[in-house]
Each structure stands twice: as C-alpha cells, then as structure tokens.
C-alpha cells in the first residue's frame, strides 16, 4: 500500500483512478444523509451529461483547499459537462460556474449518483 501511495504521489499512476476505498488517506463524511449508503464512485466515473452529489473530498493541502474554495462542498450537486477532446481534463458545472479539472484531481472527489 505504501508503494501505491508513493507512485500516485510521484504522478506515475494511471490517469483514471478507480476508487477502491483502500489505501487512501482518511476522508471526511459530509453531514447529509445522501452519503449514508456506501458507494465508492468518484467524479471520474460520471458520464458526460450526468449529475451527481458530492459526498466527500479526499486529498489535502492546496488541492483540497482550492476545490473547497471553488465550491466543491459536500452535499452540493455537480454536473459532468464534457470531456476534453483527449478525455482529460473534464468540465463540470457547479451551480452557475463551469470548472475544469484534471482527472487526477477529480479522483479526489467522491460522489453518489443523484
């Protein structure tokens, strides 16, 4: 497990991170009832045009802070708008704003299907 975390940190992991819920740093649950049912999907698993609700954020430091500042707060609804022509990054709609994220950052956001 150490290795996995290490290589992901080194940026050697595959772009598409599957949330298996193991070997991750501690995440925080949101207050909402929406997240009661455990269902390990992250933003990367959402198809274009679909909407979902944010359960929690993984990761720490500046990435996490930036995501929170942009409004990726537990409980909010996010719509996956489209992929870039080369599949990465992705465009999301959060309220009235359109935000672009790399898939590596999107993997930090755990969601449930709305």
């Amino acid at each position: 497990m150490m290795n996995r975390a290490f290589f992901q940190a080194m940026g050697l992991g595959r772009g598409r991170c599957r949330g298996d819920g193991k070997g991750r740093r501690k995440g925080y649950r949101c207050h909402e009832a929406c997240c009661k049912g455990r269902d390990d999907t992250n933003l990367n698993d959402i198809a274009p045009g679909e909407a979902c609700t944010i359960c929690r954020l993984h990761g720490r430091g500046s990435v996490r802070q930036r995501l929170l500042d942009l409004g990726f707060q537990p409980g909010r609804e996010v719509k996956m708008v489209r992929n870039a022509p080369l599949h990465d990054p992705i465009e999301l709609q959060l309220g009235d704003s359109f935000i672009v994220l790399r898939r590596r950052e999107a993997a930090h956001i755990e969601v449930t299907h709305a």
């Binding site: 290795n3 996995r4 290589f7 050697l12 992991g13 595959r14 925080y28 649950r29 207050h31 954020l57 430091g61 500046s62 990435v63 802070q65 930036r66 995501l67 929170l68 500042d69 942009l70 409004g71 707060q73 537990p74 909010r76 708008v81 489209r82 992929n83 870039a84 022509p85 080369l86 599949h87 990465d88 990054p89 465009e91 709609q93 309220g95 009235d96 704003s97 359109f98 935000i99 672009v100 994220l101 790399r102 590596r104 950052e105």
Partner: protein, 835 residues
Amino acid sequence: MPEGAPWLVALAGQQNAGKSTLFNMLTGLQQHIANYPGVTVDKKSGSYPADGQRYEVVDLPGCYSLAAFSLEERVARAFLLEDRPDVVVNVIDATNLRRSLPLTFQLLEMGFKVVIALNMMDAAERRGLEIDIAHLERRLCVPVIPVVGRKGKGEAELRAAIAKAATTDHVTPATLNYGALEEDVARFQGKLAAEPALQDVSARWLSVKLLESDSEAEALLGTRLPNPHGILDEVYTARKTFEKRHGLSSGDHVSYCRDRHAAAIIEASITDTKAGQVPVSERIDRVLLNRFAAPIFLMATVWAIYQLSIVQGYELTKVTWPFLAGFRNFAAGILPDAGFLTDPQIRSLGLWIVDSINTLLNYVPIFLILFALIAILEDSGYMARIAFILDRILHRFGLHGQSTLPFILAGVFAGGCAVPGVMATKGIPDARARLATILTVPFMNCMAKIPLYTLLINIYFPETKGLMLFYLSTITVVVAMLVAKLLTSSVLRNEETAPFVMELPSYHLPTIPGVLRRSFDRTWLYIKKVGTVVVAIAVVIYVLLQFPGVPAARQVAYHAEAEAAIAQFYEALEGNPHRLAVEDPARLIDLINVQSAYRAARLNAGGKEAVQAMDADLAEAHPDFVPFVLRGRDADAKAANQALRTLTNQRTTLRREMRSDRIEASFLGHIGRGLEPVTQFADFDWKINIALLASFAARESAVSTLGVLFDQDDGENRSLEDRMGAQQSSEGRTAVSAVALMLFFALYPPCLATVIMVRVQTASTGWMMFSIIFPTLLGLTVASAVYSGATALGLTGLQTMSTVWFAALGLLLVVALPKPWLPDLLAGRSREPAQ
C-alpha cells in the same frame, strides 16, 4: 489620518471578477506596475483625487480565499495585514455570488471597512438573475454598489461609497456564526484579544485561522508572542476534539459554514428567472469544445493569429521601416562626419546603437497586432478553452494547459519573439510547469532565427527549401517538449506544482479600448525592458568587436592604398573644371559624406517628387558638388561622377577589408578562434563562432556579421549566398555542416533580451544562467553528434536532417505515449527489497 495623506484602497476579488477593469476605471492612466517584495507577482497601484483627497488604489492578486496555500493569496494576505488599507473594495462577479461571498466574509472578519462592487451586472441581467441589492446590504452590513466595469457604469456611486467608507469610524462586526465550532472560535477570540502584541490583528479572524490550522497564522503567533505554545496547544486540542466529535476537520467545517452562509444569503436575495435554461456560453461551447470540432477551431484560431500578426505585421513593417531608416539617417547627420578610411569612434558607436534599436523597433507593428489578438483571446474567454483542449498533451511533458499562449507568442510557426513569450508565462499557476515553460519557450523559432535559416537553406538546399523549413520549424517544438519533460523530471522535480483547476469564464465580447490598452501596455513594456538592455549590450559587443583594432602593419598598408586611390581620383579629374570644388582634401571628405548621405536618403525616398526635392536641396546646399553626386549631362560632369564612383567603390572595399581584419583581431575574434577546438566537432570555424557569439546580443546580427566576414573581392557584386557557398565549399564544408549549424542555431540559448526577461520572471540569476548554459551545451552536443555521425555514415544533408527529425519524433512518441508497463515495472522493482 492626517489631512492630506492619501487613503489606501485595496481591490480584492477573484480572478475573473473584473478587478483590473475596475482598477483602470478608478485610476485611469495614473498607475504603475511593480513587484511585491521578493516575489514575481505584479503589484498594480495607482491613484485618483476626489474632494481634495488622494486615494491610493492597489490591485491585489486574484484570490478565492485567504488561505496560505497559493502564492497570490499569501501575497494578498500579507498586504492586507501589513499595509492595513483604509478601505477594501471587494470586487464580485454578480453571476457568481455564491463562490465569491466566502472571501467577503473573511475580509469582514479581518475587520476591514468593505465596499462591495457587484460587477458584471449586465451579464447577471442577461443570465436572468434578479438581485435584491438592498437585501444583500442588510445581510452583509456593507454598501453594495452595482457596477458594469466594462462600460463604466456605477463609477460615481463606487467612488462615493469609497469616500464615505474611508471617513466613517464604524467597523462592521463579523456576522458569520460557525455553529458547532462557534464556542471554540469565541473562546480563542477572547484570549487573542487580550494579548497586547496582537492588537492590530482581528482576534476573531486569527482565532478562525488557527482553528483552520493555517500555517501562516501559526507563524504570526510565533513571531508576535514570546511563548505561543500555550495557545497553539489549546487550539490543537480543540481541533482534535472537534474532529473526533463531528467526524469532520474544523477547517472543513469553517469552509462549509461559509459556503452555507453564502447559499442562505443568496437564496433570500437572488431570483433566478431563467433557472434550468442552458447559458449562452455553454451553447457556444457545445460547438467550440465538441470533441471533433475543437481541434479544428483551435488550429484555425492559431493559423489566423499567425496570418494576421506575423504575415500581415511583416507587411506593415515595410511601411514603418522608412521611418526607422530616416531616424538612422538623421542620427548619421548629427554625429561627427565620417573619415575616408576610419570613422570617429563616437560616430561608429552611435550608429551601432541606432542600428540595434532599429532592429528592435522594427518588430513593434507585429507586436501591436499580436498582443491585440492575444488580448481578444483572453478577454473573450477562449484562451481558457485552449488550455482545456491542450492540457492533456502539454501535461504529458510536464507543462500546463496555459503554456500554450507563451509558445504561440514565441513562434510555434516560425516567427514570434521569446520576450513576450516568457512574459506571458505569468499566468501559469503551477510553479514547475511555469519554469519549464520559461526555459523551453526560447527554443521556438523567433523571427530573428529565420534569416540564418533562409541563408543556409538557399546555399545548401535550394531544391528542398520547403521541406527543410518544415523540418526546422517543427523540430524546435519537438525538442522543446522533450526538454520540458527532461527538466521537469530532473532539475525541476522538486519545484512546487499546482493542480489544474480552472474556471471556464463565460464568453464576453472584448471591448476595443480594453484590447488596445492591453496591446499598447505590453508592447511598451517590451520596448522599455528590452530597449535599455539592448543598448547596454550593444555597447559591450561593439567594444569587443572594435578593439584592439587593426594591426599596425596592416593599417599602414591600408593607408597607402587609400592614398593611391585618392591620387588616382585627382588624376582622373586632371583638366576637369569641377576639380576646383575638391582641390582641398578636406573638401573631398565632405563630398564623400554628402554623397553617402544623399544615397542613404534616396534609398528611403518614396516617389519621384521626393527625389526631385532632394536634388533641389542638394543643389542649394552644395552647388559645386552637384556634378559629382548627380549624374550630369556634359562630358566633364560625367567624368567627375565616374571618378567619384570609382573612388567610393574602392573606399567601400578598403573599409570592408579593414573591418574584417578588425573583427579577426578583435577580442571576440580571439574568443572565436579560442573556441575552435571545441566547436570543430560540429564543424564551426572561427567565423561562425564569432557570428554565433555576436548573435547573442540580437539574433539578427548573425547574418550581418557573416556578411562582413565572408567579404567579397573587388568590384564583385555577388550575394552573400554565393560568397559564403564558394568560400565554404573550398574549405570542404558540406550540407551536413549547414545542418549542424542550423540545429545549433535552433537550440541556441535565448538572446540577451530574453535572458533578461527570464531573470525578471524567475527572479533568479541562477535560472538565468541555466537558460544560457543548458541550451549551449545541448546545441553543441546535438550539432557535434549530428555532424560526426552523419560524416561517419556518409549521409547527405537532407538525409541527415530527415534522420534527425524522425529520431526526435520517435523519441517524442516514446515519451508521450502511455506506458502502462512502467508503473508495474517500477513497483515490482521497489517491492522486491521489501519482501
């Protein structure tokens, strides 16, 4: 505050909220740009008068919040804490209130007198948002002024609100309640407020920051208090307790509370009349960002930029060049007159400097167009989309989606300039990608590299010009990507990186004043920063090329030849009535100078009338020189004209020979010869070494230095291509040598202006040195390897170039394509010792 001292006003807000527009609206033309101490973040400040008071306005860097994570936010925060502005104008994008309010809450918590400028009200209206301003004011307890910065709407109201806020004593109390954390916040607020050393900092704000485990707040406590550990430990315990009880870190809770509070305020003050409708921008994006259409639109955009700025701009320089040439002639007229063989030092130096400045100014039309187009791309919102489309490719090489703009500016398609390219890296939020971009942008083919390519291609590859140019203009991009990958995985590995998280702004129609302003500002910055440097360096290179001068023995020989030529001239005029005009040798020098000034002016004159006017001027000023300078009718005048022509031709030849001797004997010449043992592997002789050294000051000079060094014999009027080709082939140089030279030139270090810009943008002399040394070594290695390899294999020039190109492309693909086996391989290797 004493009467007369200016009020300090800070503009705070998020990146796309239109702070700069409001800043321009408030301060007009009275502004200047500096750097915040120790960092490369721009500090824009300006001022305006109102009612006998001055208002000093500072535009803070864009920030979403005041956390300690990003450089911009740290800078903004340090300014707020240390300079304590009297009024903070919080600029908010009216279409995006929910994300903007958390920053407002933090500003209020810090105890500032806040005025909210609710910008882009027109966009909000179009979007169908009805905003209840009065309700917002009531909820936030601060004045909220609706403005439309791009149209100057609401300006007077905003100024009035700032003036009113500056003079009131009342400081709005914070209104945000932190729910479950409120008890802790209040407890520490009380403790901090009791500390005499912390009186200038808002206790509530500091208390919240500490609970958010903000490193800078902890550091502040450390510097202010003799023993901060008591409070820090208590805060730590409080955080841990909260986390255990609520399953949520206190920092997340604070952020959550702000977001919820913002949502609550918005729910009560905004009515969305078009809820559920797809915004116009999104409709446009459905086409422009369509998976298949996006690359086509992108290519079309870049092509249009290239056509309009580089191709059309080049046409425009033909119109502006005569003005610069006129400037040179004007300077030539003012400076002391030229001698027959040698000129006064002050004249040569003056003209050398003027030439250097002209080379620089010649590109101004191109830059004006280029920067205007870039401003349109930025203001319209398409630039962010370009980053979105290309990030995947660029990120593979350690770069960033926003590296696109610098590369375009520096000349992806052969013809740009690295100086604005390096300047444009400012916007890249990822420090590692930014440095990698700065260091690879100079590999692009700037406009000044083109003349040497054309020269060599015309000599060695007359049949395959197009293909060679294609190879050269693409290989630089390939090399830049490879170098970026190499640097980011070696020397830059430990630099800070940032995630690619970016907002796609709505499309806006750019305004003409906005675009023009940006275009002029950036061009002016280029002229100012580069101009001073180029003049200084021009002087250094001049000294290196001029001294110690022509050896004494050669000098004597030249003087003898000159005297012979002059004697021949008088002999030819024997019995000619016009001879009287030049009986005195001093007059002869005058005549020669008048003639060369006339020739230079005539080259620059447009149309028949202008030439006639010049002739009339000449006849008036120097009636006795007319038969020599102008082609006369009678036999005597013809003879006089012919004699002068012969003399000036001889003079030109002598002077060119002397210049060649001088360069060979000069310091730079010695350096060029001294480098031969190293450069011989790439087949560069001392002449090419000198040209390459001189081109460090300005790339254009490579060709002109070569022009001097490959001088022509008497009376021959062959082009530089012919001369160089003949001389080079007699020395056994082949097309392979040319390929090595062109590759070296493609990888050659940035010119001095760029190097200075690298210094400015990285704020580090170390990186500046690196940007010189690394490309030199790389270029020399590649050139030597290619030359030695191709000679050993007996390849032709074209075969060599093709081989190099395909090899580079192959390497690029190996680096770029996904390597699913690599992580497994690495993981397997590192797991072994553990078992």
